[in-house]
């Protein structure tokens, strides 16, 4: 439980959150230069969710993410340079430049993929959980979807399936208040996504997603339930995204100072630093060192990604099948 995190775990959690933040803020800047192709959906602001959940997972546990997947990838241990190169469309990317931002995956790390189809990860994760159950392991599977994804039939079907089959599956609804430009309090009929858990006979909780410790504790309880054969649960994490739905979105549908206020008063990294230093668990120097190391890591990832080679023409036709006569 979160109350028993040691120094190493606390520093790891901070490093994960800081890496996500630095990765996304750097992408925000780089995207504006026009050098990054395609669509990029940034996770900045939501870091406590990925870090809090993934702190309980091992490589053999599986996650499925969504279009806003960079944070989940980093927290699950996907190589940062490989991700950056992928986003730049380079041969050295984790998917060889064939997936891009919305399809970063690393199956060896249990990262079943970001996903361009909203809600689609939920049935996949139910399947990964079913596989764990059939294989007799105590692995669990976690899907991350948003308030938009929470309205997809795929999510409902997966929740029902996971409940009736008692699968070791955790549904994490990252409710950032907006599905693209549509407010979740308009689009989600019961408003609290967690309320839907009752309809599927599983526990549902709503957690403050700005508070790493709150997410960590709730995710720990949900994952422990799943690991010990007690079945699925739904964890709604309420948080915000600092940037638009995708890069280039001016967010005119939001209140003028909404993001600014949340950044100044609720930011997960700020809260984490305040609470751990105030309690004497971590020192500012330790955290500053992590900040500096992360900055170097991201700088290195960007520099290499920019100079890495692009895929070769022959790569167009490979990897469609394992074998095709």
């Amino acid at each position: 439980m979160s109350t028993h995190l040691n120094t190493e775990q606390l520093l790891h959690a901070y490093r994960v959150m800081r890496t996500i933040r630095a990765f996304e803020e750097r992408l925000h800047i780089e995207f504006a230069t026009g050098e990054i192709p395609g669509f990029v959906h940034l996770y900045a602001g939501e870091e406590a969710s990925a870090a809090g959940v993934m702190a309980h997972l091992r490589d053999s546990d599986c996650i499925a993410s969504n279009h806003r997947g960079h944070g989940h990838c980093i927290a699950k241990g996907v190589d940062v340079h490989g991700m950056m190169a992928e986003i730049y469309g380079k041969k050295t990317g984790v998917c060889g430049g064939k997936g891009g931002s919305m399809h970063i995956a690393d199956l060896e790390k249990g990262m079943l993929g970001a996903n361009g189809i909203v809600g689609a990860g939920a049935p996949l994760v139910a399947g990964a959980a079913l596989a764990a159950k059939l294989k007799g392991t105590d692995d669990v599977a976690v899907v991350f979807f948003g308030d938009g994804g929470s309205n997809e039939g795929a999510v409902f079907e997966a929740m029902n399936l996971a409940a009736i089959m008692n699968l070791p599956c955790i549904f994490v609804a990252e409710n950032n208040g907006y599905a693209e430009a549509t407010a979740s309090n308009w689009s989600v009929a019961c408003d609290h996504i967690a309320d839907r858990a009752a309809g599927f006979g599983m526990p549902g909780v709503t957690i403050d997603g700005y508070d790493f410790f709150a997410v960590h504790e709730a995710a720990g309880a949900a994952i422990e339930r799943a690991r010990s054969g007690q079945g699925p649960s739904l964890v709604e994490v309420k948080l915000t995204r600092y940037y638009g739905h995708f890069e280039g979105d001016a967010q005119t549908y939001r209140a003028p100072d909404e993001v600014k206020n949340l950044r100044e008063t609720r930011d997960c990294l700020m809260q984490f630093r305040q609470r751990t230093t105030r309690a004497g668990l971590l020192g500012d120097a330790q955290l500053d060192l992590v900040d500096a190391q992360v900055e170097d890591l991201i700088e290195d990832a960007v520099r290499r990604a920019k100079s890495d080679p692009k895929p070769q023409p022959a790569d167009l036709l490979s990897d469609v099948y394992v074998a095709y006569p």
Partner: protein, 352 residues
């Protein structure tokens, strides 16, 4: 007796009833839909007791919207629901919304505020409204201050009181509170039910509900039939809501005797008790731990370290609340809900 048609307020905590204890224990989920229905039941009861206007804050979870829609429907017309005014206020989706709504209701002179929420919600409202009585209804998880009651009958009691038909000495109860102070930190907070002291730091969500997390509990009252930390005290050294003193217990896993206490819905846990006693009013109690976390009514967490010297003091300056049982017993004795043939809800009239 003749009174102007009174206005009452209803404050619902949209966030209550869905915390971690659904995962760690078997707590139920109190959905927004359920909350909207509870407000509608209150409106039906208020209608029957002559309340003509009700104030309700807006929210981001559809509760006010659902109530507003229902208030334009046939049931509302048939039962002559009060006029519903949705407060005009910005929403921050934090406890600040509750506080602001309470201040607006105070400014508009409400005779009563019905609160649907947990201990924390009640405390937040109480802190803003002085001696406006609260009709307390539990929607939370481990609530001791508001009782679990059907909103319709509680609404009848609240409505009768707000309409001036119940003497204050019968219908009102003055509650105790616990002050947590640390002058060096300019800390002054208070709790309605209990202050829990934990040796742990970073109790993530609002779930200080495991014996190993507890070192000490102070309680304003301790009812054995309650749930949560108040029941822990109540099953060891019960103190009624009406008594002047409170109670405290000190816990340690190595204690000789452990009490099996319902710490959360579905969680009965052995709690090693090393000491316990009454809490005298007006006395500043220091803590047995030098560092840890304080949780007030299961919510507000205050971390403290060796440099801090927080104290806990019981006093009798908590909010006024409606004693539902006493009000309805009085109403029965005096036939306050009896109506003649002239009343539209007399069975002689055809139902709408």
């Amino acid at each position: 007796m003749s009174h102007p048609a009174p206005t009452v307020g209803i404050i619902v905590n949209p966030a209550s009833g869905r915390d971690l204890r659904r995962l760690t224990a078997s707590a139920g989920l109190y959905s927004s839909t359920d909350k909207a229905s509870a407000v509608q039941r209150l409106l039906a009861a208020f209608a029957a007791t002559g309340i003509r206007r009700v104030l309700l804050p807006p929210d981001m979870t559809g509760i006010a919207a659902a109530v507003l829609k229902a208030s334009n429907g046939p049931q509302a017309a048939g039962q002559r629901w009060p006029q519903l005014d949705i407060l005009d206020m910005p929403l921050r989706q934090t406890v600040e919304d509750t506080r602001l709504a309470a201040r607006q209701m105070l400014a508009r002179g409400v005779a009563l505020i019905a609160v649907l929420g947990g201990d924390g919600t009640h405390k937040a409202v109480a802190a803003e409204v002085g001696d406006i009585p609260l009709l307390t209804l539990s929607t939370g998880t481990n609530n001791a201050f508001p009782e679990l009651r059907e909103a319709t009958s509680a609404g009848l009691a609240g409505g009768l009181f707000a309409a001036g038909r119940i003497p204050a000495q019968v219908g009102l109860r003055r509650n105790k509170r616990l002050l947590v102070r640390d002058p060096a930190r300019e800390l002054c907070e208070w709790a309605l039910v209990e202050v829990a002291v934990s040796p742990q730091r970073f109790i993530g969500a609002r779930a200080l509900s495991r014996a190993e997390d507890l070192a000490e509990v102070f309680a304003t009252f301790a009812e054995p039939h309650a749930i949560g930390l108040s029941a822990l005290c109540g099953l060891w050294c019960p103190v009624s809501r009406h008594a002047a003193e409170g109670a405290w217990v000190r816990l340690n896993g190595q204690a000789e005797q452990a009490l099996l206490a319902p710490l959360a819905p579905g969680l009965v846990q052995g709690c090693g008790i090393t000491a316990a006693g009454p809490l005298a009013p007006g006395v500043a109690y220091s803590l047995s731990l030098s560092s840890g976390t304080l949780a007030l009514d299961g919510e507000r967490e205050i971390e403290f370290s060796e440099h801090d010297r927080p104290t806990v003091t019981l006093d009798a300056h908590g909010p006024l609340s409606i004693d539902v049982e006493a009000v309805l017993a009085f109403a029965a004795r005096h036939r306050l809900l009896a109506v003649g043939r002239e009343h539209p809800q007399h069975p002689a009239h055809p139902q709408c």
